[in-house]
Symmetry: C2
Subunit: 413 residues, 2 copies
């Protein structure tokens, strides 16, 4: 009989989203008219049309595949050179960061990469995550066996949780004594919308260098950073080339949530070690994983990603970001007028709203759902420190966002 | 310091393809004119243009994404209902096989799925593979820790190798005494081009049922089966719904090697067990893996795959298959005229050629490379029982295949 991966059984039945869907369905059954009016500000999914440069590139690539002379079959597992080179130049070298094209691994998105990276790493690593946290970091570590069981307090044994609260501006400081080998950081942050300063990020890089740790740095929301002084890549901190792997996505800048493309940066200088203490380059293992497990990302999709880097593409991406950040500003102001304390939404498409006195995060979720027919995500779904907050996503049409704010104005908190 | 997955270190430096590339490069340096003439019949990559239905579907889907009203972001992790339903109907229900749309998991290709499936399975499973074998089955098991080290005879400790030779028509019988929990079977076979009969496949299903094993059945080359009596799916054997997971690909029928789409069938009735003996449905674990690790396949790609099932799509796919099987026939005849014994190439795009007396598989590779400037794959690259054979791929233009045969005619074996 076949043994299963029993670590999967540590995961509770659902992700937050099924529970939200259940409550929305319940409202629909109780009050069909309200269900008609529902506006979703929950899941962080883009709503605006795909940039025209990407549409044109998809069409042009499809046309290439339709002719024998320009047909392409299997591409390089790690991505086409044209895209690796384009990424390396625009996202790194032009900003003075020494990331070579061969250190770029093109994938179908950051979500997959965040889990896949654990396959080249051994068991026995002590893992640190923020709290609240993007659930994928936690769940993939559970599946990989890097945790013990779910505790009654809602956390997994064996994981180090780094509290992110208004007191530390949602940026945890490196631990003083306890040691973490793998550290997940995500800035601009999902779910809090917070941003990290260069000094704070430098402290983490120092910690990683001092402890021989690796930082898994997720910059899926990089494009929303609206001040030039804030770090757009961990490689702006010089030592990071030796201790950080960075995850990028085209989902939230190019609107690629349905097109599917992202990339990881794995510098040649990042190493792990064997039980016996021998250092091994992670670039080599990560390359091997791609070659054995993947045949690369769809050619047409890679051409669409490339198109985002053209001058027209950059303008179209900028317009999308401006749209969503404009939404975030409107949502922030709307919540403030209601007397709520809000965080985030300046360098991120997420607004993190503190619940009023005496209301917990599912409570505020329910009130917004029932009184305004607006769906948000209860912060508790992101971890214990998410309790007392809800996340409102700015990924929406302007019309919907304005309607949300009008409805909020009619509520009493 | 971060521990790595040390199982990766059991893998030798290269896959067969880097070694082939090295030898081709060496020829190029020694004889640039010969290098100009090289025809590749090695890697199994399609050469003909993408079916026009798929090109049109890519364009139409890109157009949908360009308008707000029809834009789509995140799709279901396991695939869009329109594609699952289309697959379920055409590939199964219309053939009398009870595979529900919800048992179809759309992915970016069979290569990824073959490795990914191991993540929901535990350590401790005894794994059987054919010899010769598609190297991905072996390498992914090495990475997952299901083997011990590489032995001096070229096999990994802990794996059960099932010899496939002319004596058994390249179809191994189930073992009499030894027990395997996971069994990889691939028919039409890569690399031998052999096909399995319904009776032989039934014996394997019986074995799996008797031993509570699971068969991982790879039908990436299904479209090349040219006799209606041969099994196109393992689910034609009734009990297989309880003991088999099937891997499909659009690479070799729709020419999707660069477009990237495939699917797995994981029936609800397939179970594994915990160490304590509790049965757990693999459908549930596989679903959880998709939800946590993936955001699904590109929408435009799923629309292109769907288009292959239209009446026009089926005609265009049939024309591609006819083309490649025609190539296979020409290659078989060309090799026979040279006095070589050939196998496969009837229900598969691969011709498996026995080396002449006294020549090993790298020897025949070298002679074909130097004397005919034709690149094939030495059978030894696929396992110990591949020694004494080379694989010639029929994925080529007709012009190239005819030229290969002309050059072979000038050789003396």
């Amino acid at each position: 009989m076949v043994f299963i991966n029993e670590h999967y059984l540590k995961l509770p039945g659902g992700y937050i989203f099924p529970e939200i869907a259940r409550r929305v369905d319940a409202l629909g059954r109780a009050d069909p008219a309200a269900a008609q009016r529902i506006i979703h500000c929950g899941i962080g999914d883009v709503t605006e049309p795909l940039p025209l440069v990407a549409v044109s590139a998809l069409n042009a690539a499809a046309a290439e595949l339709s002719r024998r002379e320009t047909f392409r079959g299997y591409g390089p597992a790690v991505g086409y050179g044209f895209l690796q080179e384009c990424i390396s130049r625009h996202d790194f070298r032009e900003r003075g960061l020494q990331i070579d094209a061969s250190e770029i691994f093109v994938s179908d998105g950051a979500k997959g990469d965040c889990g896949d990276i654990l396959e080249i790493l051994g068991p026995g690593n002590h893992v640190a995550v923020a709290d609240p946290v993007y659930p994928v970091y936690v769940d993939t570590n559970v599946m990989a066996g890097n945790t013990t069981a779910l505790c009654t307090d809602g956390g997994y044994g064996g994981l180090m949780y780094l509290p992110c609260t208004p007191e530390n501006d949602f940026v945890p400081a490196p631990p003083k004594s306890e040691k973490a080998e793998l550290i997940y950081l995500c800035y601009p942050n999902n779910p809090t919308g917070a941003m990290i300063s260069r000094e704070q990020l430098s402290e983490w890089v120092e910690y990683a260098m001092a402890n021989d740790s690796i930082i898994l740095y997720d910059v899926a929301y990089q494009a929303y950073i609206s001040e030039p002084d804030l770090p757009r890549s961990i490689y702006e901190i010089p030592d990071a080339r030796s201790c950080a792997i960075e995850f990028h996505s085209f989902s939230k800048n190019g609107g690629f949530t349905g097109v599917r493309c992202g990339y990881t940066v794995c510098p040649r200088s990042v190493t792990g070690r064997t039980r016996e203490g021998r250092r091994v380059g992670l670039h080599e293992l990560w390359t091997r994983r791609f070659q054995t497990r993947s045949n690369g990302v769809s050619y047409v999709v890679q051409r669409a990603a490339e198109a985002l880097y053209t001058p027209d593409g950059q303008k179209q991406v900028a317009a999308l970001i401006e749209h969503y950040l404009g939404n975030a500003r409107i949502l922030r102001e709307g919540c403030r007028r209601l007397g709520l304390t809000v965080y985030g939404g300046v360098h991120a498409p997420y607004v993190w709203v503190a619940c009023p006195e005496g209301v917990d995060s599912w409570g505020l979720f329910e009130r917004l759902l029932e009184e305004a027919n607006v769906v948000v995500i209860p912060g508790a779904g992101f971890g214990r420190c998410g309790e007392g907050f809800v996340r409102i996503s700015a990924f929406n049409t302007r019309q919907n966002v304005e309607e949300v704010v009008r409805r909020l104005a009619g509520m009493k908190m």
